[in-house]
Amino acid sequence: ASEAWRRTPTKWYPLPWFVGAMLLVLVQWRRTVRKEAEVHVDGDGHEVVRLRGPWQVHILGALPLRNLSRVWGYLNSLELPLWFRPYGYKIYASLFGCDLSEIEPSDLHAYPSMGAFFYRALKPGARPIDASAPLVSPADGTVLHFGKVEGARVEQVKGLTYSLDALLGLEDQSGKRTRVRRAEADLGKRKEIEVVDDEEFANVNGIEYSLNQLIGGAGSTPSTPVTPSAPSHPTTQRSSSASTSATESTDEEFPTDPKAYSTPSSRDRHPSPQKHGERIDASVVEPDRSIQETLSHDVSVAKEMGVSPTLQRTRSTYGATVRPGNALYFMVVYLAPGDYHRFHSPTAWVVEKRRHFMGELFSVSPYVAKRLENLFVLNERVALLGRWRHGFFSMIPVGATNVGSIKINFDQQLRTNLRHPRRSRPPPGTYEEATYSAASPILNGQPLSAGEEMGGFCLG
């Protein structure tokens, strides 16, 4: 071989152009395959979310969206001169197609700022609730997408999917999150490069939580006392053809006598102020609301859910496993700038906990939703988790640049669109959790009936 290597004459000649082109195509193909196969996963092989998409998306990602949102909110909170208000709001209404005939109060002078007008309420009865439907729309808007959740992947729009676990907050068995800096699929073979099982600290509202405390260990039940919740303000009423959709039930299953339940002592009704690092109970305390009042509201929701409240002690699964014969479905409703921006309960259900993800504030317009992969998993959102008559139920209001603030009427702790300097920004997927088990003495969560107002989106 060495003889041949030395003696064989080297003959040079130009490569035909197409061989070079073929080589370039080959190199490009291999890079593309590598890029597609590249998956960022954490310790359990679950996808770690990162910004991906065409160049427009990366330009969006480079903008200081949070600061823009806060400036936008500040400008819209400025008080407008009385004489200007009717003109200003009418211009906005004609630009964005708002129906001023159904707002309450109808006098436009009553809205001191654009932000107040944006968060306007509707006249009672303006939105009759379809009592024959098991599920109604939680807001005015446009149906962006819907379908069945296949393999824990939710379809954002045709062809783009994101993981349900990332949307709702994934907890592995130990409840600890392990983070893999980066794992690269090498043409089908998944090679974990480095697994870091770290207790990353996320600085939330200036208080440091360990990540584990922040997301709460899996299976840990909130040991919080019970207190009644604030009455939500139903601005809508059930249509006259309301036939209780709940299965007919006998009254002994729904006793309204407080003695039928282990009602809390007076001390329990006022949860102790939140100590550092404890599981947060965000229920709104309504001291002057009698237990009787609370019970009758809870029992009516339990009836609508078609379940007996006394059996409600069990916790629902959070999408991890569904009952045999059931499946998980999803729907995305997009609220345009001119739409009524309060949201209502889509059915009779109990909200047991919420997870606030301090994410980004990308625009969620259909244009961006079609291009920015994992949009709903990257953006700031509040995942309300609970149960309804068929099992698991969740509703996730997702913020956007112009409406960065999400309000939940029955949550006194929630603060969204917080200012946190880039360096201490919690990694995508970190969330702060709170429970509402103190909201109802019998349902272990905040009971809501179909059409009840739950909160809304605010400018900035």
């Binding site: 609730i129 439907a133 109604v136 729309s137 807001a139 059931n326 609220l335 068929h390 139920f393 913020g399």
Partner: protein
């Protein structure tokens, strides 16, 4: 802004059926299916 709903429901012939279409305008309280 956007609201994502994820819920468990029976599937199959007697199961959940959507009653709206993609791109359809909906109002609070309007039935989404059956």
């Amino acid at each position: 802004s956007t609201i994502v709903l994820v819920w468990e429901a029976p599937e199959g012939r007697e199961g959940w059926e959507f009653g709206v279409g993609v791109g359809e305008k909906v109002k609070v309280g309007q039935g989404l299916g059956r």
